[in-house]
């Protein structure tokens, strides 16, 4: 493994790990807010227990998210000083805003998690809302940086240096809105389906059913709404990529030859040598329509680019197919959920549905990671699209294989510990609450 690949792999592992916890930090506070609000409104103890139990999980996940985020802020320089030397002055500002939002979130979380008996109940509810708002906001700000990498603006690149820097233009680049929208929705979908899956698993064990049943309801409502909106934001993003990063779209679609009209490729395994896709379903004209809104539009293929600047087609294409497939599964699940809600069907009697929810537990997060593979791998070989190649940004220090190995080991270990810890938290939950009467009002 050469140093560049080790650096890229370490960054990938760090992001893959961090983003799970960041998403939970973005979406869970909203679920907790709804639970606490329902408690204040109905007085039913099950909702208070829900808010408090969820906050235990959130505290654990938040801490891991915070430390892994700290690691990332250093890794930007540890692994990519060539990038940061130039990009720092251009796109540093969204990071300061992210930092401010995150700061506010940590403060509000301190009050929310530990201040149950120290502040007035409405102040407490308010702190939960602040956590949610600050979490979403910090996510939106940090995405501005990635959007800039894909859509560089706010500077002129002359003789290997950035001049005429305009941080405002850089931050408000043309990619920010669609990336931020899609990511925020994805965070909600991924977290909600994971939460629903966990509670469905516990509901199947027939313990503390009132609690888990209501938890699923709250989680799935968020998840379903997000799942409905994701294809819309995804379409906006895809059209944007078709226009501004045609090589990425071509890789996503395994479109080796520029085509007018272009077919949509579903599934399949791209063959870069022979420039075709095997085992795929092709729907004529559909890619032209999705990418450009016209059934006969020309879609740029990889043939327009020198092979040296092709993204890794196989990885990008397959990641994209996975993301869309799992997105569709969540959408269908969302439809079923709303059907059950509308018809007032008690899902406790629908074991097949609960089992489905358990299977769908990781699906949102897998789609999320796959989506990031699409955009990050699809941006290669560039780190700043069209301006700086990833290989020119890497640290001169050799031996990155060592730190990659170390970080991967630590994060793998941490992942197992977190899962194990969560199981024990659930055990604690059941031990404490099986004795209580949950229909009591406080």
């Amino acid at each position: 493994m050469d140093d560049l690949l080790a650096a890229r792999s370490q960054m990938a592992v760090s992001f893959i790990f961090h983003i799970v916890f960041a998403c939970i930090g973005i979406a869970m506070p909203w679920l907790m807010f709804v639970a606490e609000w329902k408690w204040l409104k109905t007085g039913k103890a099950v909702y208070l227990d829900m808010a408090k139990s969820w906050s235990k999980g959130v505290a654990i996940f938040f801490a891991v998210g915070a430390v892994s985020g700290t690691l990332l802020s250093f890794e930007l320089g540890l692994l990519w000083p060539g990038f940061m030397e130039h990009a720092g002055a251009i796109i540093g500002m969204p990071f300061s805003w992210e930092g401010t939002a995150f700061f506010l979130e940590a403060i509000a979380l301190g009050i929310f998690l530990y201040g149950w008996n120290r502040v007035n109940k409405w102040v407490h509810l308010g702190s939960g809302l602040v956590v949610g708002l600050a979490g979403v906001t910090s996510g939106i700000f940090v995405i501005a940086a990635n959007a800039w990498m894909n859509n560089p603006s706010g500077f002129d690149w002359v003789d290997g240096k950035a001049i005429n820097i305009d941080p405002f233009k850089a931050m408000f680049n043309r990619g920010w809105f669609q990336q931020a929208l899609h990511m925020t929705l994805a965070a909600f979908a991924a977290t909600s389906f994971a939460v629903a899956g966990v509670h469905a698993l516990l509901l199947l064990r027939k313990k503390y059913t009132e609690f888990h049943f209501n938890a699923i309801k709250i989680a799935l409502t968020f998840g379903a709404v997000a799942a409905f909106l994701l294809p819309i934001s995804g379409d906006i993003s895809a059209k944007h990529v078709a226009k501004y990063q045609p090589a990425k779209l071509a890789a996503m679609e395994s479109l080796f030859e520029t085509s007018k009209p272009a077919s949509l490729v579903i599934g399949g395994y791209p063959d870069e040598e022979n420039r075709n896709v095997r085992y795929a379903i092709e729907i004529p004209n559909l890619l032209s329509y999705l990418a450009h809104g016209d059934f006969n539009a020309e879609v740029t293929g990889l043939d327009q680019f020198d092979k040296s600047v092709w993204p890794p087609v196989v990885l990008v294409h397959i990641s994209f197919q996975i993301m869309v497939l799992f997105g569709i599964l969540m959408l269908i699940a969302g439809i079923i959920h709303f059907y059950f809600q509308f018809k007032k069907i008690d899902i406790r009697n629908r074991k097949w549905w609960l089992k489905t929810l358990v299977i769908l537990m990781p699906v949102g997060f897998i789609a999320l990671q796959a989506g990031w593979m699409v955009t990050e791998l699809g941006r290669q070989p560039w780190v700043i699209y069209g301006i700086m190649k990833t290989k020119d940004a890497v640290t001169p220090m050799p031996g990155i294989q060592f730190s990659f190995f170390l970080i991967s080991l630590i994060y793998t270990f941490l992942s197992f510990v977190v899962i194990w810890l969560l199981k024990r938290q659930i055990k604690l939950l059941h031990e404490n609450y099986d004795k209580k009467n949950l229909n009591r009002t406080l």
């Binding site: 891991v64 720092g88 401010t100 506010l104 403060i107 301190g110 149950w116 008996n117 120290r118 630590i410």
Partner: protein, 336 residues
């Protein structure tokens, strides 16, 4: 404008030392007090540690936004000590949180061990990085070998003594803050004893750094004597020491905390004044200063505005957090 940003950077690092530093210090104090004080320490840190540790992220963002070459130089050549620092931060935060929330069985021992070890490792390597930045052993010549570029700048007695100083400083601050976190007379007595021990060690180590600096040609005595602010800072820090001990003696937590914070601030100010305007000393003499590494004006302009608005939002919120947890009545945080 540049000076204003440097001021915010300095304050951010100082607040990290005063607040986040104490979190690490608490882990070190636990080594002395053992299992008896775990509850007191956990309750003291739990609500505030995550907010406390953001100051370092703020400092990093100001660096890579406002002074990118300082950031990239440090992350390139001090990669290895930074890696240890980061592993320490990761292990400490997770070990503490897991210990707090998990079932209280044998696993507590593992969490505690990891928490305490990482509480030492992190400040140690923070001090190493700090020492390396002051020493001027960083080669930027790409022809140089792996050892010269990536090991030599930080692997020596000066940097590690600085690391030990930082550990002792954090531990002393924690021992100070912990007095008064509980009403238990016995516990407070123990914290006070540890405080005395730490303070003496800190003072001796500080003196040691000045002496060993001569051997490494950093000439701290000289630099301080030529800097008016440096001298005043040393004087002020010294004068505050009796006031600190008075506060400890009469068991007034407010006096002891504020004077400890003030002493630390003056030590920090002294170091800052002596270092200014250099950010990183380099082997080739072309030191990285505030002026030769600063980002273009447009960037600094937006940065200072972002910081201004951020401070306006954060400081009241931060004050509120501390008010809720340090000044209001405790009604059992741990039972949640």
């Amino acid at each position: 404008m540049t000076e204003l940003i440097i001021l915010v950077l300095g304050v951010s690092v100082l607040l990290y030392v005063l607040l986040g530093g104490a979190d690490f210090g608490a882990g070190m104090v636990e080594l002395f007090t053992g299992r008896k004080s775990i509850l007191t320490i956990s309750k003291a840190i739990a609500p505030v540690w995550e907010a406390n540790h953001i100051w370092i992220i703020l400092a990093i963002v100001i660096l890579f936004n406002g002074f990118p070459r300082v950031y990239t130089t440090i992350t390139t050549y001090l990669h290895i000590p930074l890696l240890f620092l980061l592993i320490g931060i990761t292990v400490r935060g997770t070990a503490f949180t897991f210990r707090y929330y998990d079932i209280k069985d044998q696993t507590q021992w593992y969490y505690t061990a990891l928490f305490r070890i990482s509480s030492i490792v992190t400040p140690l390597f923070l001090g190493v990085v700090l020492g390396a930045v002051m020493m001027g052993r960083i080669y930027t010549n790409p022809e140089a070998g792996f050892y010269e570029l990536f090991i030599y700048p930080w692997l020596n007695f000066f940097t590690f003594l600085t690391g030990i100083f930082v550990c002792l400083l954090f531990a002393w601050l924690a021992a100070t803050y912990l007095i008064g976190e509980t009403k238990d007379e016995e516990e407070n007595r123990v914290f006070t004893q540890i405080n005395i021990l730490l303070f003496i060690s800190l003072f001796v180590t500080g003196a040691g750094i000045f002496i060993i600096a001569e051997y490494y040609e950093i000439f701290l005595f000289n630099k301080f004597s030529q800097s008016p602010i440096g001298l005043i800072s040393v004087a002020m820090a010294t004068f505050l020491i009796p006031l600190f001990w008075y506060g400890v003696k009469i068991k007034n937590a407010l006096i002891s905390r504020i004077t400890a914070g003030a002493i630390t601030t003056f030590v920090f100010l002294g170091w800052f004044a002596v270092q200014f305007p250099v950010m990183v000393y380099l082997k080739n003499g072309l030191h990285l200063t505030i002026n030769n590494t600063k980002a273009p004006d447009a960037t600094l302009y937006f940065l200072i505005y972002a910081l201004g608005i951020g401070i306006f939002i954060i400081l009241p919120a931060f004050a509120y957090l501390f008010n809720v947890f340090k000044f209001k009545k405790d009604t059992s945080v741990l039972n949640e």
